[in-house]
Amino acid sequence: MLFDRLKIVQGLRDLFLANDSKAFHLACEALEVNTKNIDEFEGEFNRFFVGPKAPLAAPYASLYLESRGTIMSKTTESVRELYSFMGFVNPKEGSIPEDFLGLELDAYYQLLHVELVKKIDYLKSLRIFFLKNHILTWIPDFIESVKSSSKKPSNELLALMDLIDAFFNSELSIQGENDEK
């Protein structure tokens, strides 16, 4: 269970940060994505979250928390501030918004790693704050936008959404305890 938590969030992170097919396929393997056609799933994932056509459910918190409809917003700034207190810097600040799901998953994974593997829980309260006061304020709406998209998501994609949903809800119920088995 301890490593499942890390494995899931790492896999999700790697999926949303995958910059080519190889990285995408590896992330799918790690998450044990059950699909008959991985290339088709990659195409669908890109149609929903990446592009080049306007993504059906762009994975940026700003789009779900604000009515502006653009990225690099106040939400982005507020997540940047959070990261700074976590001790993170975004090497691509100004290019990749801090509230991009890939970066949020990365932050969550790294925080959890420090707690679970390195046994340092200094940032635990901030991680839980991040989870409750930010991640869970937009992820349900994001998942809903995938499910209610004009293009019907495949079962594989719905399963991925369920995994994200289950992961963060589980994190909420665990409340960050690091010694459960």
């Binding site: 097919s21 195409g43 592009g51 009515s67 993170f88």
Partner: protein
């Protein structure tokens, strides 16, 4: 959507201060234990509050690089590395602190979640919609290998073609041509879809395309806006027209369509389509019959007037009335009013020359201005456009061909702006007519194998969509550098994300006003977007790694340094500045000159030529004679002018524009709607010999009977494309100065029915 905040106040209200928290963070060892990822551990945490947000804006100078009369000078406000808002630069009396409805959306364009963010490859076949992410390295590797394979297979690179036009008119973007120059002799889609017939007409008459400063119009006594609609497409010019009107000037709009500008004029005259040349000749005849021509100006400044007058003598005004539908008394009032007012000016819109007889129309209008002595006059002039302030170095395109390159023999160079140095080789690039893209691809020998599209939405702008699809299917590889997913990217193999002007350095001049603007990089490139020059440098690096010496483009480019390289003594002299850095204080205006005020024209005779031998050499009439238009080949004329919500195919996809203008419409005259039993909101099918289009109808008497109108636009969520119906039939002129004729796109005919 909810408006919730993840403000840290709630966290730090629990008793620990921000400073103490950071002290503890350093001591905890947490940061040193991060496993690593996209976010890096901050190695330099100190107890200063790390991020509190900037309190003030940093400002930058930018310029709108779109293909537009306005070329607005922009002031951009950036905070925390994010573009917050933009406004028109107040230093330019033309932009005067304002932008247009489109320019005001720029922040939304830059930060649109719809932007193309990464290099991607279409893997399910062109048009399949199945895409995968690839790295820049893989993209360049794929393209470079294809280019080298073409060279190996064919012995030359003529199979590699570039089509690029006005999606970004920044001078540094001529580096795309530079990139193609740097790989060898290639194929170029050149010429211009915009204004070639008019360019030729003005060159035949005056030896140049050169126009009076639009700001002078405030002092004009009589303004004819002939087929131009600045209220929609050149908004900053309207204030000068209004000022003239307030001071008592007549503002006459001549347009078959009741445009936004027509609604603001003192008079709107609605001629039938395509016979504007005859109308201009009729007006000239009335002026000369009334002995109101400027005899001194004609004597001092022109040749061929007698022949022109002899031609006018043969014109029967009744024929003009019949052909144009303009009553004689209206023509008389217009002609005499124009002749008696001085200074008087005519602004000829670009749509008027997008007819099969478009060049001849512009020549007839030029002649009307000339006989009244208004050419060379302050606040006068026959206004069409200019490239007078475009004397840059074009360093970005000045790359030599790799040693030993083999190319095309006997080609005709094309383009309104040069394509780069000709060199001393016996070879040249192969030039194809940009206005016949589909046909040229299909007929090319040797075959085009790779097509690179930059600064252009081919399917939005080029003609005969169905032939284009057929042509694209013959290509081995299509590379599209874009900001948004257009119909052209749909038919691409590889898309490359490109920067907006806020993410790069550049310099911009206008083809209408006389201001010069620097474009500073205000923010970092978004996502993985790259500037066109950086893409060229990456390609060069890859090609040289694969085959040393195969590309001469530098492998490192700094857009700021390259912007500086575009300036020269001539530019500094024209704009009265000592250094480009002065532009950081705001745009500057060229020293004021009234075109042809010194009586010196650039024609062979050095005079205004009513009679042009050059025209005869090019196969046209020596005089600005009336030339009948294209014969109708279906029941209704279809015109496809610009919308105020888009700039060609740009901007309409931005959400604010979609909100105002969510659907494309065909505009139908009430009489025609009655015949076809159509009401506003009905879906109709338009069809002709090349295609068919379903679209909602809007019934309005803004369009004349027998004419349908659809704005040329690309919609984000619609397959709508008016070029489904517009073929690539040429206008009369354009080949003289731009290498290829324009397109008679307003001479399109269709039929339609209710669906």
């Amino acid at each position: 959507m909810k408006n919730r905040s993840s403000s840290l106040d709630a966290f730090f209200n629990k008793g620990i201060s921000r400073r103490d928290f950071l002290k503890g963070l350093v001591a905890s060892g947490a940061v040193a234990s991060f496993p690593g990822g996209a976010l890096a551990a901050n190695e330099y945490i100190d107890t200063k509050i790390p991020y509190t947000g900037s309190k003030s804006y940093t400002t930058f100078r930018n310029a709108c690089p779109r293909n537009c009369y306005n070329t607005c000078s922009i002031k951009s406000y950036v905070k925390d590395g994010v573009l917050q808002f933009v406004e028109g630069a107040k230093e330019s009396t033309y932009t005067n602190g304002g932008l247009c409805v489109k320019g005001n959306t720029y922040v939304r364009r830059v930060y649109s979640p719809d932007r193309i963010k990464y290099p991607m490859m279409q893997v399910g076949g062109r048009g399949s919609g199945t895409w995968k992410r690839i790295s820049w390295d893989e993209a360049m590797d794929t393209i470079a290998k294809k280019l080298l394979a073409i060279k190996k297979e064919d012995g030359n690179l003529l199979g590699a073609a570039l089509t690029k036009y006005s999606g970004n008119f920044g001078i540094l973007h001529y580096g795309v041509e530079g990139m193609f120059n740097s790989i060898g002799y290639t194929t170029r889609f050149a010429g211009t879809p915009c204004w070639p017939a008019g360019i030729d007409a003005q060159n035949l008459d005056m030896g140049a395309m050169w126009t009076n400063d639009p700001e002078e119009m405030k002092d004009s006594k009589y303004i004819i806006l002939w087929g131009s609609n600045p209220a929609a497409n050149a908004i900053h010019s309207v204030k000068y027209i209004y000022e003239a009107k307030r001071k008592g000037a007549q503002v006459v709009v001549i347009d078959p369509v009741f445009t936004e500008m027509a609604s603001k004029a003192t008079r709107w005259i609605q001629p039938k389509f395509g016979n504007d040349g005859l109308l201009a000749l009729g007006l000239a005849k009335i002026i000369i019959d009334a002995n109101l021509q400027d005899k001194k100006w004609i004597k001092d400044n022109s040749i061929g007037y007698d022949k022109y007058k002899a031609y006018l003598d043969k014109i029967n005004l009744k024929d003009v009335v019949n052909a144009t539908g303009v009553p004689l008394e209206v023509m008389q009032e217009l002609a005499l009013g124009f002749a008696k007012a001085k200074p008087a000016t005519i602004w000829t819109g670009y749509g008027i020359q997008r007819h099969s007889n478009g060049g001849s129309i512009v020549r007839a209008i030029d002649a009307l201005v000339a006989i009244t002595g208004n050419i060379g006059q302050y606040a006068g002039g026959s206004r069409f456009g200019h490239l007078d302030t475009w004397g840059f170095n074009y360093h970005a395109m000045s790359m030599p061909k790799p040693e030993g390159s083999v190319g095309h023999v006997g080609g005709v160079r094309m383009g309104d702006v040069t394509q780069g140095a000709e060199g001393d080789s016996s070879y040249d690039d192969r030039y194809f007519n940009i206005n016949k893209t589909a046909r040229e691809i299909l007929n090319a020998s040797p075959k085009i194998k790779l097509l690179w599209v930059a600064c252009k939405n081919v399917f939005g702008q080029d003609f005969d969509r169905n032939m284009l699809i057929k042509a694209f299917k013959t290509l081995d590889m299509v590379v599209v550098a874009e900001q948004f997913f257009t119909e052209t990217t749909k038919w691409a193999d590889i898309v490359l994300p490109v920067t907006t002007q806020f993410e790069e350095y550049d310099v911009n001049a206008s083809y209408w006003h006389y201001w010069l603007s620097i474009n500073e990089q205000a923010i970092k490139p978004l996502h993985e977007a790259k500037n066109d020059l950086h893409i060229a440098a990456l390609l060069s690096k890859k090609m040289n790694a694969l085959e040393k010496g195969s590309c001469t483009f530098p492998q490192y480019v700094d857009t700021k340094e390259w912007t500086i390289k575009e300036f020269n003594a001539g530019i500094y002299e024209k704009f009265g500045i000592k250094s480009w850095e002065e532009l950081r204080n705001g745009p500057v205006k060229a020293k004021h000159v009234v075109p042809y005020a010194d009586g010196k024209f650039f024609t062979p005779s050095k005079k205004y030529e009513f009679y042009s031998e050059k025209a005869v050499e090019n196969g046209w009439k020596a005089l600005p004679e009336f030339v009948p238009g294209r014969k109708p080949y279906d029941e209704y004329r279809l015109i496809s002018p610009h919308s105020r919500f888009s700039l060609h195919s740009q901007f309409q996809n931005i959400d604010w524009m979609e909100e105002f203008n969510p659907f494309p419409y065909v505009y139908v005259n009430p009489e025609d709607a009655k015949t076809k039993r159509i009401q506003t909101g009905d879906t109709v099918a338009l069809f002709n010999k090349i295609g068919n289009l379903k679209i909602k109808a809007k019934v309005t008497d803004n369009v004349p009977r027998g004419t349908l109108m659809i704005y040329e636009q690309w919609f984000n969520n619609s397959i709508h494309n008016v070029n489904e119906l517009v073929d690539d039939t040429s206008s009369d002129m354009g080949a003289f100065k731009t290498g290829a004729p324009g397109v008679a796109l307003h001479d399109t005919y269709v039929n339609f029915r209710k669906v």
